[in-house]
């Protein structure tokens, strides 16, 4: 009798233990020991400055592995150079999925490159997670449930400027200059959506082609509209021209500049620092050159990380903060996956981040996603140029609906 009881108890224990063991579920690229993650980055070619992102992500996972990995599994980060050429991205991503058999493709960089692989990734049902581009189209879970962005997208950012204008200058007359392509139109749409019923505050719009030598005539045209607010949707070279031209013609609008061109070194300096005083733009990460973070604990940790794992990396390059922060976001997603390392669960966990924060993001900014919200960072803080550097001001503004 007793032995029967023992047998019964043993069977019961086994039965209880069974589902625990069965809960470990893996897709290609995951095992008890390892999680394989794929990536493409332009380490060569015209956009190779972005290569810093791939290198800092690789460094981040070296650190994670030294700490013992994620839930006991080490990260195998496989990254290939695509030279910012979409056909090469297709080739490399196919290699990652079909030959290296990665669990997911993380942070492929560039709008054209990601467009080229989006159909393939969704057809293969492999996560195309936290892509490194600001286009709004990555937030489309209905049609592309395997693709997700990460950084604030262009429309989100533009809606935030619109919100700020409505709050501070409700009677403004607005002039908009935009680059005539999908990037410029993406911003313009977000801006108009943000103004909503008060869309008629925009009194003048002018566009330019990237092939045009200057935007001087557009600035004159916008100035003559009598606008007192200027939204400047331009890439670095044209941003510098627009800032200079607006100042030189004596036009003194409240000047909003898109995040794409918020570099002091490559935009404001060529324009003339004194001409850029008062320009408003936005940020969501801590700027490694900003003195206010000199003694910040998070940035200290980041600098230690850089010294130990990415010693060749440039300490003033914001891309190194970007890579660190986005890698930390993926670490969180994989932690949440637990022992269910399937592609489906990766997307599910990526879509259920709740107020997740990496402390290299500006205070007050966090990531929230849901099955219908594939736009992780949706808040920014505005900053104004004081002639030396950008100064953050006001509260964090969120476009989260």
């Amino acid at each position: 009798m007793k032995s029967r009881l023992v047998t019964f108890a043993g069977l019961l224990a086994l039965a209880l233990a069974m589902p625990v063991a069965a809960q470990k579920k893996y897709d290609a690229g995951a095992s008890d020991k390892e999680i394989k993650i794929g990536n493409t980055n332009p380490y060569s070619g015209p956009a190779s400055a972005y290569g810093a992102i791939g290198k800092s992500i690789a460094a981040y996972f070296r650190m994670v592995n030294e700490r013992g990995g994620i839930n006991g599994r080490r990260i195998n980060f496989v990254t290939y150079d695509d030279g910012y050429s979409p056909p090469k991205t297709v080739e490399m991503v196919r290699k990652l999925v079909e030959q290296d058999e990665v669990l997911l493709v993380f942070q492929p960089l560039g709008t054209p490159s990601n467009t080229a692989i989006q159909k393939y990734m969704n057809g293969k049902k492999v996560p195309q997670l936290f892509v490194a581009t600001g286009a709004t189209k990555w937030n489309d879970p209905k049609h592309f449930p395997w693709t997700m962005g990460w950084q604030p997208n262009y429309q989100t950012e533009a809606r935030i400027y619109a919100k700020h204008i409505l709050d501070t200058k409700p009677n403004a007359k607005i002039a908009v200059l935009y680059q005539n392509d999908d990037y410029g139109k993406d911003y313009l749409k977000g801006f108009e959506d943000g103004l909503g019923a008060k869309k008629n505050m925009i009194v003048a719009k002018a566009s330019y082609e990237v092939s045009e030598p200057t935007v001087d005539s557009q600035i004159l045209q916008l100035k003559s509209s009598g606008a007192d607010v200027f939204f400047n949707i331009t890439t670095p070279k044209f941003a510098a021209q627009a800032i200079r031209a607006a100042y030189d013609t004596g036009w003194k609008p409240t000047h909003y500049l898109n995040n794409v061109s918020n570099s002091v070194g490559s935009v404001l300096k060529p324009a003339g620092l004194e001409k850029a005083v008062g320009v408003i733009t936005s940020a969501y990460l801590k700027d490694p050159t900003d003195k206010r973070w000199a003694n910040d604990a998070a940035m200290k940790t980041w600098r230690e990380f850089m010294a130990k794992y990415n010693p060749e990396g440039d300490l003033s390059d914001p891309f190194n903060v970007y890579g660190y922060t986005v890698a930390a976001t993926l670490e969180q997603v994989l932690k949440q996956c637990g022992d269910t390392l399937t592609r489906e669960n990766v997307m599910k966990q990526a879509a259920s981040l709740k107020r997740f924060r990496v402390d290299t993001m500006l205070p007050g900014i966090s990531i929230t996603t849901s099955p219908s919200d594939f736009a992780p960072i949706e808040a920014v803080q505005l900053e104004r140029f004081n002639g030396q550097q950008f100064e953050l001001f006001g509260e964090v503004i969120s476009a989260e609906q």
């Binding site: 380490y43 015209p46 791939g54 050429s85 467009t115 080229a116 392509d181």
Partner: protein, 333 residues
């Protein structure tokens, strides 16, 4: 080597090419398709540069035109993929011929510069507002990968999309290589080479140099355009960023490494430009192009007449029964 052995070798190669997609993973099949595509493009450039002596730094532009032809026709007109190939060929033949007419006045480096301008201006033209309705602007065009035709399935042959596209490209490549070989080994080919070697003498012999040079340009552009169309279908995407100046330079690197004025050279060059950048990336993430440069210098130094030239020399040495060393008299052709 006798004509018979050449034929046997070629047939063996084709047989090998037919077996490849059944032993390779589909990703490798895709890479093999790209090699065929590049081989066609390099053959085109070789007709112009290798045989006719006109240097082009702008063949990436013709490749782009071919690619966009296929993409636009499939995306907007709903044409089947195979029908876009002859149209892309015709368009590129015409564009190449027309570009060749004014380019006639330019010799050597000046022609290189003019074609370079063509390559540089291609991405902005593709992005331009005026053409955006068709080209999709910066966004480019995403196209659907063709499925194997139904009759194959009915015949009991099961191929996936990658394998089918490989065979389709292989068929196109074989046809174009045969056409190229006929062109080169006949009267036209001799005329092209005569113009390259001595322009005035060729003219004195009664060769209509202007016509032949423009024709070489047109045919060369046609080959490259067909390659572009096939490449677009294989990659399923075209965008202006895919066709920058670097592509044109890559083609030139390909024919020099593969072997100027050599048909098999196009294939060797295609293998080089497809795989060596990947190897370089594996060796160094920090400076992949520096590694590529080392490879390039190595190739040019060790095989000054290209891979095709090295293979020729090797074959001659094997034929004479002694590998090393050849006496001076023997080494000289």
């Amino acid at each position: 080597m006798s004509r018979k052995t050449v034929t046997v070798t070629i047939l063996l190669l084709i047989a090998l090419a037919c077996v490849l997609p059944f032993v390779l993973k589909s990703y490798h099949t895709f890479q093999a398709t790209l090699v065929l595509v590049y081989a066609i493009a390099l053959l085109g450039l070789n007709i112009l540069t290798g045989y006719n002596g006109q240097i082009s730094l702008g063949h990436g532009a013709f490749y782009a035109i071919g690619a966009y032809c296929a993409a636009i026709l499939m995306d907007q007109a709903g044409l089947p993929y195979w029908a876009t190939i002859p149209i892309a060929a015709a368009v590129c033949l015409l564009v190449g011929f027309l570009f060749g007419l004014p380019a006639l006045r330019l010799e050597g480096l000046y022609l290189a510069l003019a074609t370079f301008a063509l390559a540089v201006s291609m991405p902005p033209i593709l992005k331009s507002h005026l053409l955006e309705k068709w080209t999709g602007g910066v966004q480019g065009i995403v196209i659907v990968k063709p499925d194997p035709p139904a009759f194959l399935g009915a015949a009991g042959i099961k191929l996936n999309a990658d394998q089918w596209l490989y065979f389709f490209s292989l068929a196109v490549a074989i046809v174009l290589f045969i056409v190229g070989w006929n062109l080169i080994s006949g009267r036209i080919g001799r005329a092209l080479v005569a113009i390259r070697d001595h322009h005035t003498a060729a003219e004195a012999m009664g060769i209509h140099t202007a016509l032949y040079k423009s024709l070489a340009f047109g045919v060369s552009a046609m080959y490259t355009g067909v390659a572009g169309a096939l490449g677009a279908i294989a990659v399923q995407f075209v965008a202006p960023d895919s066709f920058n100046v670097f592509l044109s330079i890559t083609f030139l690197v390909g024919i020099v490494v593969g072997g100027l004025a050599s048909l098999p050279g196009a294939l060797y060059g295609a293998l080089f430009i497809q795989f060596v950048p990947n190897i370089a990336d594996e060796l160094s993430k920090a400076a992949p192009w520096a590694v590529f440069g080392v490879f390039l210098i190595g190739f040019v130094y060790l095989m000054p007449t290209g891979v095709a030239g090295a293979v020729r020399t090797l074959r001659r040495r094997l034929g004479s029964g002694k590998l090393f060393p050849l006496s001076k008299e023997e080494a000289l052709p």
